[in-house]
Chain length 295, copies 2
Amino acid sequence: MKIILQEVGPRDGLQAEKQIVPLEKKEAWIRALMDSGVDIIQVGSFVHPEKVPQMAETDKLFRRLMKDKRSATVLSGLALNEKGVERGLACGAEMFYLGASASETHSTKNTGVGTAQATQRIIAAAKIAVAAGKKVQVSVQSAFGCGFEGPIPEDRVLDMVRSYLEAGLRKISLADTAGHATPAQVERLFSAIFKLDPTVECACHFHNTYGLGMANIYAALRVGVTTFDTSFAGLGGCPFAKVAAGNVATEDFVAALQREGLRKDLDLKGLITVARDVAAHFGREMPGFVYKIDS
Amino acid sequence: MKIILQEVGPRDGLQAEKQIVPLEKKEAWIRALMDSGVDIIQVGSFVHPEKVPQMAETDKLFRRLMKDKRSATVLSGLALNEKGVERGLACGAEMFYLGASASETHSTKNTGVGTAQATQRIIAAAKIAVAAGKKVQVSVQSAFGCGFEGPIPEDRVLDMVRSYLEAGLRKISLADTAGHATPAQVERLFSAIFKLDPTVECACHFHNTYGLGMANIYAALRVGVTTFDTSFAGLGGCPFAKVAAGNVATEDFVAALQREGLRKDLDLKGLITVARDVAAHFGREMPGFVYKIDS
């Protein structure tokens, strides 16, 4: 069984933190995650620095990490359009993560255009990255429900997946942006995608808003999803908001896999050490479970 | 699909709390849980009051709750031997939860005798409860691993299950006492039990030590387990220990089920209100997720 870990903490996790993490600290965490053997790391976002100040130094971070890179870990960056991809290409990003929302409201609020147009924009940007020889993962955001619209019709998600596949984009992620997914829904939706095309490489991205992140990961694993987004220490849960909505902690998922005899190549102790450093840095308890256990 | 909720917060959750909860408060919480429609509530333990001071008033609590009982919720109590069952019968308990450990070390430390002898003791006590017309659930503790012994041979668990079945005890729970279970293991072990006898009524009891509680619940659900132990607010996670080891929060599981269209008869809002009261009572954040979300 192929299981690919995609670490999203430095991107999705840290962007939820108001306190800007110094570049040196981010770099140290990402290097430690690379040393632990994680397959892909989303280093940051190529978005407007004023919109997400925590991501302002993403280009600089990529340059530092790529300069002397020997690790097999693939370094990825989020982009929302062609301009973002161009920035990523300029600083050496090895992979791009691009997505459009299946919620018309969410899409319009975020990008100014509805789902269909946003999808075409993402495909255009993705093609530039592919043409430059980069790996590309495209995602359907709000695939399992939307804070604005509520339930999202599964056909709309499948239409987006079809558009990606027709454009030759075969690494497809379904993102549970607001944390609405349930295990039964996860199995149903991914199964429908594999019915469209059994050879798609599927990835999943869940938030723990309702405490279902790990259950959803296992539901996805069961139906053939191979890439799993997690964040070190469970970063993303904001202590000042009422909703704790981080991803599943990377070290928690790795601990579970290793107890099942899988991915023994990953350095769990190293991951726990990074998670503890994250908790020390922010001076609060993080959502991860395993890093709190006495070793 | 039949899904039975067994609330273990007043028993397994509160016994982890050093601060004694006043009888009136316990009664109010249990009454609110009954009003929410939970199927079974483990009210407390019939154990020596000096051993578990938090459970010292269990008999009194049962008498208060049974006096004017109209709710369909079944009130259960934990017993470790015939004496415990006799106490429960005297105060009106409707159901008994009795268990022995599959770990020889755990069994010997807890009961003074090994697994085989402890199992026979539990069966003898269970038979008294059955003879008195009571419902009985028997459990295999440390079924998925043990803090002292590490992995537990599955054959030892199955031998205990066979003993229970031969004694006519057909409601059988596997308890992950130390929180070691993984989803793959959960599916394997329960499937082996259903191979022994497809008509057994299986229950599961998981702790969230490694953040796998909900994933394990869904794994159990998938292979035919029908009774699920949860604790309101996720009680059981001790803030003073390094290991957060509560059960899955009742309201989190109910929220997930209801989003999947199941158990719409349960009063989720009522459960969230109780969970919030628990957090207010202890003056700290509890492990549950859903009660923290703005409604």
